[in-house]
């Protein structure tokens, strides 16, 4: 009989402490609550597509920065250089445009 009492005492002394809640959550996060492979790959796929679209948009935007040639500004620039050979550039340009356009 005494042996049973000792076994009971030992059982009381060895009462199991609760496993930490975050430990259980870690198990669930790696198993039943882990996103399915399709969801994970879909997220990666969306990210890649988004990056490609952004890159394309940036590339197109940079390529379209060229502005039409402003003849007026060109003449001003040429005049400002004060080089004789460009003094009549404006009139030469007008003649050129009359001939070709």
């Amino acid at each position: 009989m005494n042996n049973e009492k000792w076994e009971s005492l030992i059982s009381q002394a060895l009462q199991a402490p609760a496993a930490p809640a975050q430990l259980v959550e870690k198990v669930f996060a790696k198993t039943t609550r882990r996103p399915s492979w399709w969801v994970r790959y879909k997220m990666a796929l969306v990210g890649c597509v988004t990056a490609v679209v952004v890159a394309v948009c940036v590339g197109v935007g940079m390529g379209s920065r060229s502005v039409p040639l402003d003849n007026g500004k060109l003449v001003v620039y040429m005049s400002q250089t004060q080089q004789d050979e460009y003094a009549t550039f404006s009139s030469d340009l007008d003649l050129f445009e009359q001939e070709w356009f």
Binding site: S11, Q12, A13, V27
Partner: protein, 191 residues
């Protein structure tokens, strides 16, 4: 909706194998405390016990479909925990052995216990007494500690499966462990 807590371990395994994720979670919640305590009793380190805890349940999650329902889930769980703990000891070069014979060999404690043992039992039933008793258990050889911890969760037959020992050996070892606790706790030095 099925009340999962009312299902047996084998039924939960079957449900999980059929795709019911909550059945796996029920198994985790059912055995989380006993498994964690068992691992802590072996490794004595919260970090290591936490890692082993996750490893055991990840193994269950991965191999549940291969598990044959024979009413031995609890044995499987603690056997897996034990094997992973032994691997942990090996990988960390720790010399703790759960299979060494105790210093007394195979002697049974036939000593006559001191008079007044009943009084000692009453003293130990207090909270302080139980804490001292647990501290005393922690001084036992590892394999005897393991025996006493496993006895909290498993039947003798299940312990025999976990330890790969004959049932008679398990009964004798468990009896020796309890007798040793009894003798040590009854000594004047302890009280």
């Amino acid at each position: 909706m099925t009340n999962l807590s009312a299902l047996s371990d084998d039924e939960l395994i079957g449900q999980f194998a059929s795709g019911t994720a909550q059945a796996f979670e029920e198994l985790v919640l059912r055995y989380k405390n006993s498994l964690y305590q068992y691992l802590m009793s072996l490794v004595r380190d919260e970090g290591a016990a936490g890692d082993l805890f996750q490893d055991v349940f990840l193994a269950l999650y991965t191999h549940a479909a291969d598990f044959k329902a024979q009413g031995k889930f609890k044995s499987w769980l603690f056997l897996t925990a034990r094997n992973k703990t032994l691997n942990y000891f090996r990988d960390h070069k720790q010399t703790v052995s759960l299979d060494e014979p105790d210093e007394e060999g195979n002697e049974f404690w036939h000593d006559v216990l001191p008079d007044g043992e009943v009084g000692h039992l009453e003293q130990l039933q207090s909270r302080e007494g139980l804490e001292r008793l647990k501290a005393l258990i922690d001084t036992l050889p590892p394999h005897q500690q393991e025996m006493l911890y496993l006895r909290q969760y498993l039947s003798f037959a299940e312990i025999a499966e976990v330890l790969h020992k004959p049932l008679g050996t398990v009964l004798a070892d468990c009896h020796r462990a309890v007798q040793k606790v009894r003798k040590l706790a009854s000594s004047e030095e302890f009280l």
